[in-house]
Symmetry: C2
Subunit: 321 residues, 2 copies
Amino acid sequence: MTPPRRAEGLVVGVDVGGTKVLAAEVDDRARVLATATRSTPGRRVELGLLEGALTEAVEEVADGRPVAAVGLAAAGFVDRAGERVMFAPHLPWRGEAVRARLAERWGTTVVLDNDANCAARAEVAHGEAAGVPEAVVVTLGTGIGGAVVLGGRVHRGRNGMAGEFGHMQVVPDGLPCECGSRGCWEQYSSGNALARFARERIGRERTSLAALCGGVPERLVGPMVTEAAEQGDAVALQAFASVGDWLGVGIANLVAALDPDVVVVGGGVSSAGDLLLEPARAALTRSLVGASHRRVPPVRLARFGPEAGVVGAAVMAREGR
Amino acid sequence: MTPPRRAEGLVVGVDVGGTKVLAAEVDDRARVLATATRSTPGRRVELGLLEGALTEAVEEVADGRPVAAVGLAAAGFVDRAGERVMFAPHLPWRGEAVRARLAERWGTTVVLDNDANCAARAEVAHGEAAGVPEAVVVTLGTGIGGAVVLGGRVHRGRNGMAGEFGHMQVVPDGLPCECGSRGCWEQYSSGNALARFARERIGRERTSLAALCGGVPERLVGPMVTEAAEQGDAVALQAFASVGDWLGVGIANLVAALDPDVVVVGGGVSSAGDLLLEPARAALTRSLVGASHRRVPPVRLARFGPEAGVVGAAVMAREGR
């Protein structure tokens, strides 16, 4: 096996999400220097549409300059070798050899991993998991993604599917999940869980939460709950207390299994900061086995927000693996 | 750091359990050549009593020959450095620097780890986790112990407490656990869980289960349930179906997080073989996220039974770490 070659020059990270493609020029200090966005064409379209959108975004960022390497962070399962997107609920890729095809199309080095692993790579290289050997990174967005960092590297697993924390079962016969199971952790701790909690409790009173969704609970989404909580809305605060508590319970499970140095929480929901993390820390200390005989790991807010995916993809592209 | 020195000559593994001390001469092909046992003096005794019992057992095995190295498998939390037993529910050690003290007393190399990690080392070196980079080893005894194997080595964690799978919460506000929490996995899948299930359902009929406990449900313990199940007792079979199903649910959680190559199940309860593993495999396939997009890892019966601890302790002593 030849060692990976470190890319010099223009490195572009691309986050291929369910609704949006974000491409960014990222320097070797994790600074985002230029970005371009496209809408994700959807999962039922021809591959050419998606790959055309990616190409446009990369070309817009490159602006005529040669590209040394592109890192792709895909919202889906990527195989262990980093060659294929095996399955992605919101993208048309089904077992496609995405890496090689785009490398040929673009005439440059392309490196591929899933988005949660890329977010973790950003934290390992430049963020809150830097300098520690072992970390658990939990990414709270619509659902829960995550990564296990061991010896300073993201552990990918046999199928490249390690870190699928969101589908660990925490409630027997619990809430149904899109994955087909019931009681998955992300049904209790995620952006969707925040919104569901608030929707079920929103009353007729004129609260900031009611105002944000125009009085129509069905329109409520996670970011509205964050905004309302920051304004002191009681239901929104209860939603964070619940989602944060469940976050800590799930983290305690991961810490029992892995005993990491640090836990890093990122993703859109984490923008609420201590509203989310304080109840999580309390639940971790309450739930963790042997808490009085061990150092309970700190639960830190991720350094990188919505740009975690592109930064991590660029880190990966620069490292060549 | 000097590399560990491989021990040549007589190597003794010692399993320091809650009720029994087992010492064994183990050769480099994992064969147990001689054994000695002592009762564990209990947790409220002077340290000298326990360490005297260990010394006697090692001396009996050595039978006058010089000992090249001793490996200790302790039923408790061992610190990351492998120096101290931090806490052990059934032993008098509380933060004691056991390794160095016994090395001085015995005038030989002593290496220390917890019993579940030692059992995993046995499987990695000579058993069902040999030759694969990543494995999860689940040890079902009175409770659940376990180990995470990465890159062919047992992952010990920041506090040396990785692999405490038994205290991952699987039922919110579930059954109370000795650890102080509720709903821990080992309350639903372990020797204790087997016995509880059977105790709660044993009727007045003359079943083999009733005969084994002399008609007194309070006397039921896990091994009686195994024996009754092997005789076809309906309640005992139901107990294994339940404990096996919960085993698979918990394994699915670990596989979602770690995506290992193989899962190995050992410990006393595993002597029931497929009675336990078949329902576990079914639950794993049912519960595991993306099962149709991945290779579901095989769930294998451990090679080593009650001798897993001494064999693993000897492997560790021979490797010098």
